[in-house]
C-alpha cells in the first residue's frame, strides 16, 4: 500500500469512528473499494468590539456504497463566545441587567448599547445523507440530522427526488424536510412582555423550563443546461413553522416620551414576544457560466417574503479566475437587504399600549449586509486540494420610525456589525 493510500485509509477509518461508527461498517457491508472522499475544514468567525466569536471545525465524508449509491456524513462542532445585543437601548445612567440564570448581573455604562456577555455555547451537529438511484433517470436522497447545544436540541429528516429529462439537460427536484427543535434556555422561558429588570437573586419572570418548535420545508427546483458552458437553477420553496419563535434573551425598552429632562430614557425593559407561527416563501435563481478561458462566473439571486412582513433580496456573485495549474482565485461579493418585520420596534414609548407581538431584535429590523471576500484554491501534486478563504461582513441597521425620542435622538441605537471570516479547507 502506498503511503498516500495508507494515510487515506487511516483517516477514513478515523472519520468513520468519529462519525459514530457508522461509516466503516457500511463500507465493508457494501464491499466497495472506492475510498472515502473527505473534506476537513475549520471556520473562524469574529465580530469586532468583543462581540460574537465562533470557531467551527467540520469533517465531511462521501463514500460510494454501490453503483449510483452514496453515503454522506458530516460532523460539525461549534464553539461560540462573546457579547451580543440584548435589544435594550442606551441610558444616560449606568444600567444593571440580571443574567439569564437570575443569579448574577452585569452593568452597562451610560450611553452604551447594552450587550450581554453571558453568551457561551458549544454545538455538536451530525448529519447523514443517503443517495440512491431509483431508476436510470431518477435519484433519491434521504437525510437525517441532529444537533445539540447546551440549551437547544434539533432533529431533522429530509427526502429529495431528482428526475432528469430532455437527455439529462433538465433536472426537476422535489424535496421535503421536517425539523423539530427543543429550547431549554438558561433560567427558563421568560414570561412574554413581563419586566426583565427583576434584580438578581429574586424570582424572575419565567413561566416554563422548555418550549418546542416544528418546521416543514418544501422545495421545488428546475436545473437547466442552457448550453455547453451555461447552467441555470430555479427553486421555489415554502416553509411553515409552529411553536416558540421568540428569543428568550432579547428585550425591548419602554422609554419615557413625555417631554422633560428624562424624555427618551428607558423606564423598563420587557421580554419580547413573537408570533407562534411563521410562513416563509422564497424564489431562488442561479446561473453558472464558464468562459472559454475556463474562468467561471456564478451569480445568484433570492427573493424571500414571510407573513411577519419581512421581505428580503440577496445577490451573490463569485468569479473563479483559473490559473494554469488547476488552482484558482475566487473573489466574492454578496449584498443582502431586508425590510423589517411588522412587529419590530427599536423601542416602545411609554404612552403606547404594549402590542401583542413586539421585538427589538435587530435581525428582524431594516438591515443591509455586504460581504466582500476572496478565496484561493491550490491543487496539490497529490491531487488533494487546499483552500483558504477570507471574507469581511458588514451589517448596518436602521432604527424603527419614531425611535429618536429625547435623549435617544443623538445616540447610536443599534450597533453596526463588522465580522471577519477565515476558512481553511483540505480535500483529500
Amino acid at each position: 500500500m502506498s503511503e498516500k493510500k495508507y494515510i487515506r485509509k487511516s483517516l477514513s477509518t478515523a472519520t468513520g469512528l468519529l462519525l459514530g461508527g457508522v461509516a466503516a461498517p457500511c463500507a465493508h457491508a457494501f464491499g466497495t473499494d472506492t475510498p472515502w472522499e473527505l473534506n476537513a475544514a475549520v471556520l473562524y468567525y469574529g465580530e469586532s468590539d468583543g462581540r460574537v466569536q465562533a470557531l467551527e471545525p467540520v469533517i465531511m465524508g462521501r463514500k460510494e456504497l454501490d453503483d449510483e449509491e452514496y453515503l454522506n456524513l458530516k460532523l460539525v462542532v461549534d464553539s461560540l463566545t462573546g457579547a451580543t445585543p440584548t435589544g435594550a437601548v442606551p441610558s444616560s445612567h449606568p444600567q444593571t441587567f440580571t443574567r439569564p440564570s437570575g443569579k448574577g448581573s452585569y452593568t452597562i455604562a451610560a450611553g452604551e448599547v447594552p450587550l450581554d456577555d453571558t453568551f457561551h455555547d458549544t454545538r455538536t451537529a451530525l448529519s447523514v445523507d443517503w443517495e440512491k438511484a431509483l431508476t436510470e433517470m431518477t435519484r433519491s436522497t434521504f437525510g437525517a440530522n441532529f444537533s445539540s447545544e447546551f440549551d437547544f436540541q434539533s432533529l431533522g429528516l429530509s427526502a429529495t427526488i431528482d428526475h432528469d429529462l430532455n437527455q439529462r439537460n433538465t433536472t426537476l427536484t422535489a424535496g421535503i424536510a421536517l425539523e423539530t427543535d427543543t429550547l431549554e434556555p438558561e433560567g427558563g422561558i421568560p414570561l412574554e412582555l413581563a419586566s426583565a429588570m427583576v434584580p438578581a437573586g429574586k424570582p424572575q419572570n419565567r413561566r416554563d423550563s422548555s418550549e418546542t418548535r416544528d418546521q416543514i420545508d418544501l422545495l421545488l427546483g428546475l436545473t437547466q443546461v442552457i448550453n455547453e458552458r451555461t447552467l441555470m437553477q430555479f427553486n421555489i420553496s415554502h416553509s411553515e413553522s409552529d411553536g416558540y419563535h421568540s428569543d428568550p434573551f432579547k428585550f425591548i425598552s419602554i422609554v419615557q416620551d413625555a417631554s422633560g429632562p428624562n424624555q427618551g430614557e428607558p423606564l423598563d425593559n420587557i421580554y419580547e414576544n413573537r408570533p407562534d407561527s411563521r410562513s416563509k416563501s422564497s424564489f431562488f435563481w442561479k446561473t453558472l457560466h464558464s468562459f472559454t478561458s475556463e474562468d467561471v462566473i456564478d451569480f445568484s439571486y433570492r427573493y424571500l417574503t414571510d407573513d411577519w412582513g419581512i421581505k428580503s433580496h440577496t445577490m451573490d456573485l463569485r468569479y473563479t479566475w483559473m490559473l494554469d495549474s488547476g488552482s484558482y482565485w475566487q473573489p466574492h461579493l454578496r449584498f443582502y437587504k431586508q425590510e423589517a418585520a411588522d412587529f419590530y420596534r427599536t423601542l416602545l414609548p411609554q404612552s403606547e399600549t404594549v402590542p401583542e407581538f413586539i421585538s427589538a431584535d435587530y435581525r428582524l429590523g431594516d438591515l443591509a449586509s455586504t460581504t466582500v471576500g476572496i478565496k484561493y484554491s491550490q491543487m496539490l501534486a497529490s491531487e488533494n486540494l487546499i483552500e483558504f478563504r477570507l471574507e469581511l461582513l458588514t451589517q448596518t441597521n436602521d432604527p424603527s420610525p419614531g425611535s429618536r425620542i429625547g435623549s435617544q435622538a443623538g445616540r447610536q441605537l443599534i450597533l453596526d456589525t463588522e465580522a471577519s471570516i477565515l476558512q481553511f479547507t483540505y480535500t483529500f
Binding site: A125, S154, E228, L231, S282, Q338, K375, I421
Partner: protein, 69 residues
C-alpha cells in the same frame, strides 16, 4: 403566484428551443467549479447568514438546526 412563475419559467425554457447538450459535450459542465453548491463553503455561509439575518434557505432547505436565531 408560484404556479404562474413556474409555468412561465418552463415555457420560457422550452420556448428558447435549447439544443440539448450531448454527454460528450459536457466536459466544461462537469468541472467542479460548475457545481451549483460547494460542499463546505455553502454550508458555512448558510450557517453564518441564518444566524445574522431573518432569511434562510432558497437554494436548499431553510431549517437551521441551530439555536442562534
Amino acid at each position: 403566484m408560484y404556479k404562474k412563475l413556474l409555468m412561465f419559467l418552463l415555457l420560457s425554457l422550452s420556448g428558447c428551443s435549447l439544443t440539448p447538450v450531448q454527454p460528450w459535450q459536457r466536459d466544461t459542465l462537469a468541472r467542479p467549479q460548475m457545481r451549483p453548491v460547494h460542499p463546505v463553503d455553502t454550508a458555512f455561509d448558510d450557517h453564518i447568514y441564518f444566524s445574522k439575518e431573518a432569511s434562510s434557505g432558497g437554494q436548499s432547505f431553510a431549517g437551521g438546526g441551530c439555536g442562534c436565531n
